[in-house]
């Protein structure tokens, strides 16, 4: 009965029938209140968006996957401290993180929002090490500014990992086993136990493979020590592995011996082993070993496994790969176990690449990154025939085992090569994307543009990439091109929301009222509850100078998603427009708390202090913004203005020169330069202004400044002429007053005149 219920629940989850799933799951938990069932129920709740329910039922559970789910619900409820405590219990400093890569990714997010950037980066890197296809972790790393080179994350090693994972799954258990064994983790030996008999066949076939082969018998001999062995690697092995191992009783000694014999006989070349691979496998094997037969049955289900969740496969592969390179460590295993990332697209690619999509279909309940180890045994028991891809899909090592049983050898070779090439292709794509992305996060826009252009046309013409390209043009202050690319993105994927807030700001700068209001309307109709849509609408109102309404709208965006940085920054801008500096500063600071590298907020703070005439503060904040985004000519211009206000005219002029060089189209630094020169170096100033006049003939302030200089030089006719020109261009009332006053006083000596 329990099996039936579990199956029904998972089926419902897979088909998004949440109410059914929840109902059944509650019955299931009432009937058989095991922790695994609780996990299933929590998963149902989480999938339905009810984090608070999951929180309640998982309080106090200790299995790794439960802890992961609990931490996930805490995170969604913004109880960051609890989430952290769950995943990293204070009294067990060396415990592994549940669910491997996913767990590390979640921890990275938690630490990021708590504010501990260093630790966050560590965990995200760990997550990526375990699973190189975990793009979300890479994304976070870029945002945090911790990425220097995309290649180290999506290197060929990673390809080998992926490949290994797949291969290990697909009958290359031998190799993977072998590799794992090298480190002599008893775990491996354990895993070998089951696979060994089958390995023999495959070993021969696998000899050609580069994947690490069966570990030396010595490793096997360590079987009894498996548990201790595990502990050695505990720091590397991701929790699932560890817990798995601990959870599973070591295989019977006799088996191990048997295995060792086999291994010895087989004498397969060994490489560094993916102990990790072993460990997950071990778990599977533990179950599987009792069911060699069932293993065979599984082989039939293998083709069905081709469903996605290949993320796991990839994770495994990557872990394998890492193991080969590193010394076995649990690193890989960790990856293996942990590696279920959500990079489904990538995994799909790999899957596609390898005919034997080893992706095991995850049980619906575990579609999310979680990795339900505990479940595995049950799964095996109950759902062998199904594609319950226990995430442990890598535990899919068991799958491997099964494969071994099938003794597919020749076919495997072909598949392996496809796998390898597929993994490499995938990693190549990720490398390009990754490089482009981190370059754009470091604001090296031209380079990033070039990188994105390297993508294939299919990939380039997707919403994400086009939106990124639009963003790059936006940062280069090329609003026209940005508009073009963003609208392309919208045409390609009409429901895209990411980056649309930036698009609305581009339109705001271009003063395109119609386009902006149209965009805002569309976005709201796509998703009324997305912060981007409200940001766009707020920009509309702000453009019409209705600052109060714009502020209300931006505050609504903040309410919808308090972790959306840009909404906070825009609130800050509106407060400043309303001259409410205190609240403006608060908004900018909350934006910076979420994302320290959001240079717009640093800029906003700098402008506030400029207005309040606290020039030192202003220069400090503008410099921070400039350090984050060193290519922005606008920032350089403002920095120059702040330095001028601090009377550091030499520095100011130098900075303005840099700004001019950075962007020839930006007239502002030229104007500022003339402004500074107009204090004493009149002729130079006039030269500069003459040039500026050519490039921006309709700008009243240029003529006004020229008039002012001529007035100083007492060339009255020219002064009058230029003042008149300035007035003709219809400046606002305040300027008219100033200019007219200057004209009146033209023939009077230049007294203490603030403005002119």
């Amino acid at each position: 009965m329990e099996t039936l219920m579990v199956d029904s629940v998972q089926n419902s989850l897979r088909l998004f029938m949440h109410r059914n799933a929840i109902f059944f799951c509650e019955r299931l938990c009432a009937e058989f209140p095991t922790e695994l069932n609780l996990q299933l129920l929590a998963t149902c709740y989480l999938q339905n968006g009810k984090a608070y329910c999951a929180y309640q039922i998982l309080k106090g559970t200790s299995m790794p996957h439960s802890r992961y789910l609990f931490a996930m619900s805490c995170f969604q409820m913004n109880l960051l401290q609890e989430a952290e405590a769950t995943l990293c219990p204070a009294n067990e400093p060396n415990a592994e993180v549940p669910d491997g890569a996913a767990g590390h990714y979640l921890l990275g997010l938690i630490y990021r929002y708590i504010g501990r950037r260093g630790v966050a980066i560590e965990h995200l890197m760990q997550a990526l090490a375990i699973d190189p296809l975990l793009w979300a972790a890479y994304d976070e790393l870029c945002v945090l500014g911790a990425v220097e080179d995309a290649n180290e994350y999506f290197s060929d090693m990673a390809a080998q990992h992926i490949q290994k994972q797949y291969l290990s799954e697909s009958n290359s258990l031998n190799s993977s086993n072998g590799s794992e064994f090298n480190n002599g983790s008893s775990n491996m030996s354990v895993t070998f136990v089951d696979s060994i008999p089958r390995q023999s066949k495959q070993l021969l076939a696998n000899n050609a493979r580069e994947i690490s082969s069966i570990p030396p018998s010595s490793a096997i001999a360590k079987v009894p020590a498996s548990n201790s062995g595990t502990s050695n690697f505990s720091q590397f092995i991701t929790p699932p592995a560890a817990t798995q191992l601990s959870g599973v009783a070591p295989p019977p000694l006799c088996r191990n011996v048997h295995v060792s014999f086999n291994v010895a006989n087989n004498d397969i070349a060994t490489k560094s082993n993916n102990i990790a691979v072993q460990t997950p496998r071990r778990k599977l094997l533990d179950e599987g070993k009792l069911r060699k037969v069932s293993g065979r049955l599984f082989s039939d289900s293998v083709p069905r496994r081709s469903t996605r969740l290949s993320a796991e496969a990839i994770a495994v592969a990557s872990s394998n790969a890492t193991q080969i390179t590193s010394n076995g460590n649990s690193h890989t295993s960790a990856k293996f176990l942990g590696g279920f990332s959500s990079s489904s697209s990538s995994s799909s690619k790999v899957n596609a690449a390898s005919s034997r999509s080893l992706t095991f279909k995850k049980g619906h309940s575990w579609i999310s990154e979680s990795f339900d180890e505990g479940r595995r045994s049950e799964d095996f028991d109950d759902s062998r025939m199904e594609n319950m891809a226990t995430t442990s899909s890598y535990t899919s090592m068991s799958g491997d085992v099964r494969y071994l049983e099938q003794g597919k050898t020749i076919g495997d070779l072909a598949q392996d090569s496809r796998l390898i090439s597929g993994a490499q292709e995938l990693l190549c794509l990720l490398r390009t994307l990754g490089e482009g992305y981190w370059l754009s996060c470091s604001y090296r826009c031209q380079e990033a543009l070039e990188v994105y252009l390297k993508l294939s046309e299919k990939q380039f013409n997707t919403g994400w990439v086009l939106s990124q390209v639009g963003r790059l043009h936006f940062e280069l202050v090329d609003y026209y091109e940005a508009d073009h690319f963003f609208s392309l993105a919208r045409r390609v994927s009409p429901f895209i929301l990411e980056g649309m807030d930036m698009y609305s700001t581009a339109l705001y700068h271009m003063k395109e009222e119609m386009k902006l209001s149209y965009l805002a309307q569309e976005l709201i109709s796509v998703d009324r509850l997305s912060p981007q849509a409200w940001c766009a609408l707020g920009n509309c109102y702000s453009m019409q100078k209705d600052y109060e309404t714009a502020l209300k709208i931006f505050q609504r965006a903040v309410q919808l998603d308090s972790r959306f940085v840009y909404a906070h920054t825009l609130c800050g801008h509106e407060y400043i427009a309303l001259e409410d500096f205190e609240n403006g500063i608060k908004c900018y600071q909350s934006a910076l708390q979420i994302d320290q590298r959001h240079y717009n907020s640093w800029y906003g703070l700098g402008v506030v202090y400029l207005r309040q005439e606290k020039f030192e503060f202003a220069e400090h904040h503008l410099r921070k913004a400039y350090n984050i985004n060193p290519q922005s000519s606008v920032l350089m211009c403002y920095l120059g203005m702040a330095q001028h206000a601090l009377q550091r005219n030499e520095d100011a002029l130098e900075m303005l020169e840099r700004a001019i060089a950075a962007d020839k189209q930006n007239p502002l630094p030229v104007y500022q330069k003339a402004n500074i020169l107009s204090l004493d170096r009149f002729d130079e100033a006039l030269n500069v202004l003459e040039q500026l006049k050519e490039s921006a003939p309709h700008e009243s302030c240029v003529y006004a400044l020229m008039g002012k200089i001529y007035k100083r030089l007492e060339v009255h006719e020219k002064a009058m002429f230029y003042f008149g020109l300035a007035l003709d261009l219809k400046p606002p009332a305040a300027d008219v007053a100033t200019i007219k006053a200057a004209m009146e006083k033209l023939y009077l000596p230049d007294e203490m005149d603030d403005i002119l």
Binding site: K545, Y599, V607, L635, A733, A734, K740
Partner: protein, 215 residues
């Protein structure tokens, strides 16, 4: 650019009883217009480069009838009004937190509804506080209906704005010699600050403006 009120009243007050009265009062209105008396306009027309300045100011009145207090002057509701309850002149005091540049005072009054409560002579004073207010403008109204725009600028372009801590609107007398007065809304306008700090002049062209800020 400093004068913003509209003057043509005849068109505005056309209609029914008004028309009859109009013919009768035509002569009066013409003289009124000629004499520089203000009669309100139904439209609140303010230039784009001006903005309402008194949201964060402290508003007080010399006297009020319970239920018709100073809040009615700022509630954006033309049906509610402030009614004074004491001796003339009735005063509306607006105190700002810092010295501000002001250009325009706009009142909404309605002779048809308020008749003898409608103000007829208004004096505007400015200064640092109650102790040194100086009159800067006096206007007379003639049966106004709608928004009455009172400009604070002088003739000199240097005097487009007044720079002050405090403004006082004094109602010196009402129509038909009424004692108390009704005012339905008051708005104060001044220039917008330059969005780009530390600049001697505003930017007018699109090229300059699009490069002028980061958002």
């Amino acid at each position: 650019m400093s004068r913003v009120w509209t003057r043509d009243r005849r068109v505005v007050t056309a209609g029914g009883r008004q028309a009859a009265m109009a013919t009768e009062l035509d002569g009066e209105e013409e003289t009124a217009a000629a004499a520089g008396k203000l009669t309100g306009s139904p439209q609140l027309s303010v230039e784009d480069d001006l903005r309402e300045m008194a949201k964060n100011a402290a508003w007080s009145v010399s006297s009020y009838k319970p239920g018709n207090n100073v809040l009615s002057l700022r509630d954006d509701n033309l049906d509610t009004y402030w009614q004074s309850d004491g001796a003339q002149p009735h005063l509306v005091n607006i105190q700002f937190q810092k010295k501000v540049k002001l250009q325009l005072v706009i009142l909404y009054v309605d002779f048809k509804l308020d008749e003898s409560y409608t103000p007829s002579k208004i004096s505007i004073r400015a200064g640092d506080g109650f102790h040194n207010l100086k009159e800067i403008k006096t206007v007379e109204l003639m049966k106004p209906v709608g928004w009455v725009h009172i400009s604070l600028s002088g003739n000199d372009p240097r005097e487009t704005f007044i720079n002050t801590f405090m403004l006082q609107v004094a109602i010196l007398s009402n129509h038909l010699n009424g004692r108390d007065t009704h005012i339905r809304q008051i708005k104060i306008y001044g220039p917008r600050p330059n969005p780009v700090p530390l600049q001697p002049f505003h930017f007018t062209s699109q090229e300059f403006i699009s490069y002028s800020t980061i958002r």
